[in-house]
């Protein structure tokens, strides 16, 4: 009898104490963790950023994209003193206006490109107010293209919701040139569109070495592809980090975690911004939830985990400059959202 009680006692002890420790299971283990303190870069002008989500730096000009604007989606600032230069991509239903923007890409000439998923078009924004933007209407075969990057001067890389392929290549007229790879899900019986919704990913491509990386928003998977040789390099976190979802009437409803929200492929490393917040927590207390992630995961180009940066605040998007060792982050929870980190 005593022995039974002893076993029950030990078992209960283990069960109860382990309950506290399982808030999140890390899909990837990093050999090094470094804490970073940010420095706020105040915007002196009266530019209100409601939900800044993307930031890019080119030639000392900072471009910030606000996904919930009532006016312009993109604003440019001088990097040095955060003076407002211009506002681009006006919200509206007119042909030259936008119903949303998903990302900012800047080409070698300094031209700013963006993607309007609602209008299914990639646009090179006009530098002058009276200038005409270049609009590329995407092939109607693509369903809800939610991110893009430039393969070269005339070809774009896009993921979409068809779910039949992982990415597609489109030309300067918006036509599909070819498709590549597959969603790395083990759920083969699921509808392709539902799978594509669940595996919604952010992308980054570096033309210098041809590496494309994709980060799942609703899970903890990083996919690395070598586009020059059209091969899969690595898929990190497939076992523990695959997105959790339920198919409700043909729609993927996320039930797991907020995973990655931005990714950058540098010359030597891949940087991915990780949140790790469970949707259960968010649903229970949405008013207390803090938007953004505090973790920047760093991998080498073959997918080997290198280190994890732990930030002093939550950010939604970043710009990484490997040469200067600086990162610019966007803290949506603050009225002064631009934060600079030094990581080298």
């Amino acid at each position: 009898m005593k022995r039974i009680y002893t076993v029950v006692l030990i078992g209960l002890g283990f069960t109860l104490t382990s309950c506290n420790a399982t808030a999140h299971t890390e899909a990837v283990v990093f050999p090094e963790t470094i804490s970073l303190q940010g420095e706020e870069k105040a915007i002196p002008d009266s530019v209100y950023l409601r939900y800044p989500f993307r930031v890019r730096l080119q030639d000392d000009i900072l471009y910030i994209m606000d996904i919930h604007t009532s006016g312009y989606y993109i604003h440019s600032f001088t990097q040095k003193d955060m003076r407002h230069i211009a506002s681009l991509a006006h919200r509206g239903e007119a042909p030259a206006e936008f119903l949303g923007t998903e990302n900012i890409r800047i080409d070698e000439r300094g031209d700013v490109w963006t993607l309007d998923a609602n209008k299914s078009k990639i646009v090179k924004l006009a530098k002058q107010i009276d200038g005409q933007p270049v609009q590329i209407n995407l092939d109607k075969e693509l369903i809800r293209t939610l991110d893009f990057d430039r393969l070269n001067d005339s070809v774009f890389i896009v993921p979409d919701y068809t779910g039949r392929h992982r990415i597609s290549f489109v030309d300067a007229q918006g036509g599909i040139l070819k498709h590549a790879f597959q969603i790395p899900s083990s759920t083969e019986k699921e509808s392709p569109i539902v799978l594509a919704q669940a595996w919604r990913s952010f992308i980054s491509y570096n033309p210098n070495h041809g590496i494309l990386a994709m980060a799942t928003q609703l899970g903890q998977v990083i996919e690395i592809y070598d586009l020059k040789n059209e091969r899969v390099v690595e898929r990190i976190g497939l076992d523990e980090g695959a997105p959790w979802f339920e198919n409700r009437g043909g729609y993927a409803v996320p039930t797991g975690i907020m995973g990655y929200s931005d990714i950058h492929v540098g010359q030597e490393h891949i940087y991915a911004l990780f949140w790790g917040t469970s949707f259960e927590e968010i649903r229970k207390r949405p008013e207390d939830h803090k938007e953004g992630g505090r973790y920047v995961h760093v991998f080498d180009l073959k997918g080997k985990p290198i280190r994890k940066y732990v930030l002093d605040r939550h950010i939604t998007g970043f710009h990484i400059d490997e040469v200067s060792g600086k990162m610019i982050g966007l803290d949506v929870n603050s009225n002064q959202p631009v934060v600079e980190y030094v990581f080298n």
Binding site: L9, E291, V332
Partner: protein, 70 residues
């Protein structure tokens, strides 16, 4: 027998206290935060689901960027 029952009770109390402590620390961290620029909304209804609050998750029903989907 009595000793084991007392031991068991003590362990349960300790575990509950640990859990409560964890919960309190977790809650106090969160009490300092606000949702900043996010406003409530209830849109994206598609018969069987809703999307809540403006944020960055793509609502599968409407295409809005939201905080969570039900």
């Amino acid at each position: 027998m009595k000793t084991y029952l007392i031991g068991l009770t003590c362990l349960v109390v300790i575990c509950i206290a640990m859990n409560a402590n964890f919960q309190i620390r977790f809650d106090s961290d969160k009490s300092e935060i606000t949702l900043g620029n996010i406003e409530a909304l209830a849109q994206g209804e598609a018969g069987n689901g809703n999307c809540w609050f403006y944020a960055s998750v793509d609502c599968p029903y409407s295409g809005d960027k939201v905080l969570y989907v039900e």
